[in-house]
Amino acid sequence: MSLLTTILGRLIKAAITLLTIAVLNFFLIHAAPGDPAAVLAGEAGAADPLFIAQLRERFGLDQPLCVQLWSYVKNVLTLDLGYSFRQGMPVYDLIASRLPATLLLTLSSFIISLSLGIAFGVAAAARVGKASDSLLTTLALLFYATPLYWAALMAVLVFSVQLGWLPGFGYETVGSGYTGLARAWDILQHLILPAMTLGLFFMAVYMRMTRASMLEVSQMDFVKTARAKGLSGPVIRRRHILRNALLPVVTLAGLQAGQLIGGAVLTETVFAWPGIGRLMFESLEARDYNTILGVFLVSAAMVIVFNILTDIVYRIVDPRIGAKT
């Protein structure tokens, strides 16, 4: 089967999966107690039944659930994410305004954790049993076990409050008027702490996995053959061991990539990062149905896209996979 037909088949399945997820999400969110009208009325500190009825009518919540579901599915099929009555703007605009910040944060942390994780893994495997290996493995275990929330607050306390090296939160210096490179530099400084904090856990995972996988592969027969034919240590490690050892890491990276949108709620909250994870959490608390469903749908689409991408990367890393099927 050619790569193209595989991808086409996956895309059709993906569309069906996505629609199923959308419908399930709809029921899930309507099963939670309360609705957006009640929350808005609750916040107002005073409400009469007329007020709540007006809101429900405006939000379309006075319609039977199946009518609401049908109009939601129709919206999804036409790629319309609907309108956030709470925020007074289309959900598409809301998500689009929050997406860049989240992608910047999660992609940076993805790249940092993947590259550092693999590099440290390779280094540890090459020095297995030595002191530097123990140090790296211990650090990885520590990062792996540290709760994200705690690590984030400690990072702020140490690097921002005590040392004053880096800004503790926010996306950029508010009201600074920076443009161009100065602004990019400003954003980069704000990015370091949250990206590192978010990346720590996965970095540790990648490192441990690369190390274990490298050690396993290095015992295999073809490595012995390569050594016997006189190849140098670094070449064997790079071309023969690492390439084979990377497969499980790719699988995991695919999983992490799927969380690029929704996986940073905690980090975004602690660092006041104006991303989509916070939008989702706050919309959930406010029962802002359209916004939550929109974020869920975009996240689900992201997971599916990255699953497909992972499959393609598999074939590149290991050409045998395409040949077998």
């Binding site: 107690p33 409400a47 909250t269 006041a272 104006p274 608390e285």
Partner: protein, 515 residues
């Protein structure tokens, strides 16, 4: 204008500073928590919205910390002898942020058209209004059907914000595109809103008060985590932490820092009053002795000192001591577990467990619920704590699906506006967490609440409200807890931050930075 001049003079003299000592310019960063859904104060009146929009919109009056009316968009006012006619003279030369003049037609439109449609709380007060008329551009006359005691108290920014007629007349208010770029008459203009980060307001150069406001710009900063907000203040990233924006146990640490001030003022109009709803309808809770036992079983001073770090005051009844018409001539429920046990024994309480719904507003409230559970279990009442989020809490309280539920409500300066709604029978209706949720019925008191509301004579009102408090406290329709105090913490360089009974929600018209 004479009145204003005098006020300025008195304040300046009181501080032993020369006249007009305020430094001009600068910027203030203030935490706003949570991020408001909208800044259109006519449509949304929750706390965060009012905190920001209080700079953009104004009303006819403001109220000082003794809740006496002060001029705002109205420079003077007159109430007729019979309490039926309220005449307001508006300030001259007031302009909307887009340059259009502000006139009496805007007042009539705001009160009679816009807010009557959108503002649930004002709507119930406007039921007393027969007509609102504008005999000329700078005069507005409210005529009432019958006298309404608290009427002079409804001209507050969040209660009756002035809405520009030229923008909203004839439109679909809720979907008007201008809601995203609010236009008011206030000291600051809306500049930009980066959702999730900050709201930026800039000085209104055409403000009708000469020389005001003093600040160039204000940033309202959105920082979703309470610990991060405390850090933001420590690092100087923000200058002001409005009441309730950090957890209480962080307050002593922050106020001990150098050049940090705090004040409990600026909440007199709201007077947040906390209690537990007791579902009077069923089970043991229907027995007044059970409800009294709960009052005696709770150590409210301990909660005030430990959970609230000493902030607040034990509530003696339905009316806050911060407001007028408060009376302390009532039965005092001091911590007395033995009395509670005796009452439970007398009614032969069978030990049925009670559900308790905490308020999902953070750690402080969670700990409070745990303290209550501990207190009640000591007298033999088993309590199960229900966990839920804000929407779930709303739903359960509004649908009467609870035994005991924490809450706190604002009093809005007058028992007829913010207290009677929780105790009169006509306010028993499912669907709102803010009315008579406990299901208390007392027709005799209902009549008194009404008489007190419609009496034009303040002395008579004081007398009736004192009687009501005396009687209702014995019935324990709800378990009153604390008068909550939310200290505002700020950098001492910020001057005149809180000048009225609505505090930061009243805008930063008078605030300036010592340079």
């Amino acid at each position: 204008m004479n009145f204003l001049k005098t006020t300025t003079f008195l304040i300046a003299a009181g501080m032993a500073q020369p006249l007009l000592a305020q430094d001009v310019g600068g910027r203030i960063d203030i935490v706003v928590q949570p991020e408001p859904p909208s800044l259109m104060l006519g449509l949304v009146q929750n706390g965060p919205t009012q905190q920001v929009a209080g700079d953009i919109y104004e009303s006819l009056l403001r109220y000082n910390t003794d809740l006496e009316p002060q001029p705002s968009l109205a420079k003077s006012w007159d109430i007729s002898e019979d309490g039926l006619t309220y005449t307001f003279q508006l300030q001259e030369g007031v302009k909307w942020h887009d340059g259009e003049p502000f006139t009496s037609a805007d007042v009539v439109f705001s009160a009679d058209v816009f807010l009557r449609e959108t503002h649930a709380r004002l709507r119930s007060s406007l039921a007393y209004v027969a007509s609102i008329e504008a005999p000329d551009d700078l005069t507005v006359v409210f005529k009432l059907r019958e006298p309404f005691g608290p009427f002079i108290g409804i001209f507050e920014g969040g209660t009756m914000p002035m809405i520009p007629k030229h923008i909203y007349e004839g439109t679909d208010f809720a979907n008007n595109e201008m809601n995203a770029t609010p236009i008011g008459t206030g000291p600051f203009k809306f500049e930009s809103w980066e959702k999730g980060s900050f709201i930026h307001l800039v000085k209104n150069e055409d403000y009708y008060l000469e020389g005001k406001p003093y600040l160039d710009e204000v940033y309202y900063r959105v920082i979703p985590d309470a610990a991060s907000r405390a850090v933001a203040f420590e690092t100087g990233e923000v200058d002001v932490l409005p009441g309730g924006s950090v957890e209480n146990w962080d307050v002593p640490r922050l106020t001990e820092m150098e050049n940090v001030c705090s004040t409990g003022k600026g909440w007199e109009f709201f007077a947040p009053h906390s209690w537990m709803w007791l579902n009077n309808r069923e089970g043991a809770m229907a027995d007044v002795r059970f409800r009294q036992a709960i009052m005696y079983a709770m150590d409210r001073e301990f909660v005030r000192d430990v959970v609230w770090n000493g902030f607040g005051k034990v509530a003696t009844g339905p009316v806050s001591s911060k407001t007028n018409f408060y009376s302390d001539d009532v039965t005092q429920y001091n911590y007395d577990p033995d009395k509670a046990k005796a009452l439970l024994a007398e009614m032969e309480y069978d030990g049925t467990p009670i559900r308790l719904l905490p308020l999902p507003y953070g750690e402080t409230w969670q700990r409070w619920a745990e303290a209550v559970r501990q207190n009640l279990s000591e007298v033999g009442i088993e309590v199960q704590i229900d966990a839920t989020d804000v929407a779930g809490w709303n739903e359960k309280v509004a649908q009467w699906d609870y035994d005991m539920a924490f809450t706190y409500l604002y009093q809005y300066g007058d028992p007829a506006l913010g207290v009677s709604r929780n105790y009169v029978e006509s306010q028993i209706e499912k669907g709102s967490p803010w009315n008579n949720v406990e299901g208390y019925r007392n027709p005799e008191l209902d009549a008194k609440w009404h008489t007190a509301a419609v009496s034009p004579n303040p002395d008579e009102r004081t007398e009736i409200y004192a009687q009501i408090q005396k009687e209702i406290v014995d019935d324990v329709p709800v378990a009153w807890l604390l008068e909550i105090e939310f200290p505002t913490i700020y950098n001492c360089n910020v001057q005149d931050l809180v000048t009225t009974g609505t505090g930061i929600s009243d805008g930063l018209r008078d605030a300036w930075i010592k340079q």
